[in-house]
Symmetry: C3
Subunit: 346 residues, 3 copies
């Protein structure tokens, strides 16, 4: 059998290390496609001149392009037989990635828990992305529900990892000098100081998604999850249509959040994230943010812990949210918790 069939739940062992295939050199071509797919306008990733003002050699690639690329590599080994991608935690962007860098990925199984129905189990992996020098550029945990090949298979003992509720801002290394941060170039005068904990921001704009777009994006990330590409099979399946890669939703929501967070040029960490409902082509994505926490950083930087909520076909003026029992309305598709870096008033 030469065709990859992916791992099933009983194939995973605690502590198992998986070296993922296909290293990938990211280029300005990938950056241009990322702009065309999401319309991101954060100045740091848009203009070399802006990046140089902050002490970087040139514009780094978008943090989420790095995330999706590393994530994509893990799919054939981790989630080819997944039922659902359940969550993220402890995501850290450790080194800026520039065009020309070649990324590869390694995962370690840090938790396993069979479901009571014996049909599936939850696999927890910590995935690390490295560049061609061997430096770690990204680390994150995700957990995913994976089918068993054989319901009667003996599985590893249950072990659920303790995961941080949020990444500590102490760990952030911005590597940038924000003293010459040009807010006019960014299009907003609002500094870190101007955001209040618990403040909510409706990002107003909406973005409709087409099949060609999400498939081009997902192939760009070399993500091979079958549900995104194959209408013949998906047309007969659960939803009757292709399911959009969750990372595509995160990138759309992040791009929409520019309108209200234009100076939040850098993602420092991903604290958590859940895809709470599916998105399909033809749907229009809206987003709102809430400031969860604030942290000062060295230099003129400050970090905002933000909750980024995305909806489909539902504008966010009323900040649609989960109810008191934690249930999300059908139109809410993403609940994402991350730290962003902004300039701080001196």
């Amino acid at each position: 059998m030469k065709t990859a069939t992916g791992n099933f739940f009983e194939d995973f062992r605690l502590g198992q290390k998986l070296t993922h295939a296909t290293p990938r050199t990211l280029t300005t071509g990938d950056a241009a496609l990322y702009t065309a797919l999401y319309g991101a306008r954060f100045a740091l990733q848009s203009a070399d001149s802006f990046a140089k003002q902050l002490g970087l050699p040139r514009s780094p690639l978008d943090d989420l392009l790095v995330f999706h690329t590393v994530f994509g590599k893990t799919v054939p080994d981790i989630s080819l037989n997944a039922v659902a991608n359940l969550g993220y935690a402890e995501g850290k962007f450790l080194k800026p990635v520039y065009p020309g860098a070649t990324l590869n990925a390694v995962s370690e199984v840090i938790g396993l828990k069979e479901n009571s129905n014996k049909q599936t189990g939850v696999v927890y992996v910590r995935t690390e992305g490295f560049d061609e020098t061997g430096d770690k550029v990204l680390s994150y945990v995700r957990w995913v529900m994976v089918r068993k090949r054989d319901v009667n298979a003996v599985v590893a003992e249950s072990s659920v990892p303790k995961l941080a509720n949020a990444v500590s801002p102490d760990a952030f290394v911005s590597g940038m000098d924000f003293s010459k941060f040009d807010t006019a170039a960014c299009g907003s005068a609002h500094l870190w100081d101007d955001y209040a904990a618990s403040e909510k921001i409706d990002h107003v704009d909406g973005m409709t998604v087409e099949e060609a777009e999400h498939m081009m994006a997902t192939r760009l990330y070399q993500n091979t999850a079958r549900v995104h590409f194959n209408q013949y099979t998906e047309g007969k399946g659960r939803f009757g249509k292709r399911l959009i890669y969750g990372g595509h939703v995160i990138s759309i929501a992040r791009a929409l959040s520019f309108n209200g967070l234009a100076n939040a040029v850098k993602i420092a960490a991903i604290n958590g994230g859940r895809h709470v409902n599916p998105l399909f082509a033809g749907d229009t994505v809206f987003a709102w943010s809430q400031v969860l926490e604030k942290a000062e950083m060295a230099g003129n930087c400050g970090a905002l812990r933000l909750r980024l909520v995305a909806t489909k076909n539902l504008p966010c003026a009323d900040f649609p949210d989960k109810d008191s029992e934690g249930q999300y309305p059908d139109n809410v598709i993403l609940d994402f918790d991350y730290w962003a870096v902004l300039p701080r008033r001196i």
Copy 2:
């Protein structure tokens, strides 16, 4: 309020300068996307080897890619509350832009005229695009009808600028040596000398437009005009669908014009342009050109002033045009007036 709401008519003042956000580094990635979106085949922008023969260091970016990028930056400040983009004038391409250049844009309000209904007014701006060295690469005037926030707001006194009917060819600096111009590489033997004033050319080919394409293009230009992206809102609006960015039409028509104008490798100036009817996804664009004027240039160059007319769902063998009263048929979507540079017989 952290979300940008854009300027309304009463917010503009004569002489006001607006420094637009998000500088943008254009790369070969953007050039590749431009090719994929329009299929342009002009040799100067297609092949470094051809550009070198004309004395340039490499292929410059397409003039219209530069135009759309600069234009895109102005949208959040000038036309977020626009009803209609009314026209262009005095567009000059002043310096070739190469991959790696970072563009930014500044506009000056050069005219204001409230409409008699007091609901809207016309704003005239001269927009200038600069590269990272501070050199001016593009200058053009556009005027746009903008809503008032408050019908009763006091507005600036009316002042309508005098605009040149056409850019004078004296101003053109080609910076290229056309003595080694390789017409075989361009695919046409027709030199400047072979075109007669008033000659009409049917460009024959048609190009159907998809939602994914125009949205990717418009995001590539970081153009945030909402009508192009949001089916949820536009579905309830004037047309019931997303409106395609007018610049997308110009680029399609220019690419179609290759068939008949293959040696017109460079746009020197934009004399004027009007989007006379909207274009929607699913429509097929056709185009024809008319030679309006001819001008010799230094070296072996000549300039043709061309009228480029685009239609939707209507082939151009009969050169569909406005009637004697200046009214355009519904199928005509663009009337664009520009100068192009061609090789001249020695």
Copy 3:
């Protein structure tokens, strides 16, 4: 008449050489688009680091991107008036093409045969692609059925070239050192030795095609064949819809074949190929391969001669194929015969 009308059958002469227009500089931007359009994951084209391990300076561009680019240049001269693209033979990839290379193409008419209905004839051309140093990077033969302008026109005497059934592996120059071939990076442990002649592989995955995707691809190749772009005209035509460029099918099938042939990182030659049924947007492509022949190569390389069969809306677990009389079922769209290079066990 300034608009190109293309050559008709009676315009071709045996031995005629056609220098095709529009040289094209390929960049990392084109490579990124190629990834986004097909999702190819072969490590050689994906990662500079992998290419360096094999002794190359960086990742070469995908062989098929080179093929489509050279092919595209020939369309305005060879097949603008074609009824059908009948076949390929003797395709040789002679030099790796890296980002930054500028390609141009020349064709020689090597065969002509009028059809008995006098309406059309078959034109055989050998096309050669060159880079900006004048080195030949690609050579292939194709034959195509072309309309006559005038049914009564006198045509050249019939001459049908003898074409090799397959390219001889003796001709292959891999230029790569496979002794450090990293199969883990490729995602498969299956070496050349592990494939048996006549073995069949179902590539399992399916890929649905959208209009925006195939048009972007075909424009990227500057292929101007009208049937791919113009719904207005094609809607009234034979199929009622736009026909997808056959090369798009080859690239999709090749990308799907990664799953089962992950170490087949390089196409050495194209022995033959036929587009046996049309593909349209909305269809889902599947593929299977059969090993036709094996050949050892110098160093640690081996070549597999592979038949790559693509279907639409039909999974390939049963290896759908032509019948005993050589007739293909309607769902089979491509029958492609090529040599691929893999690492060989020492």
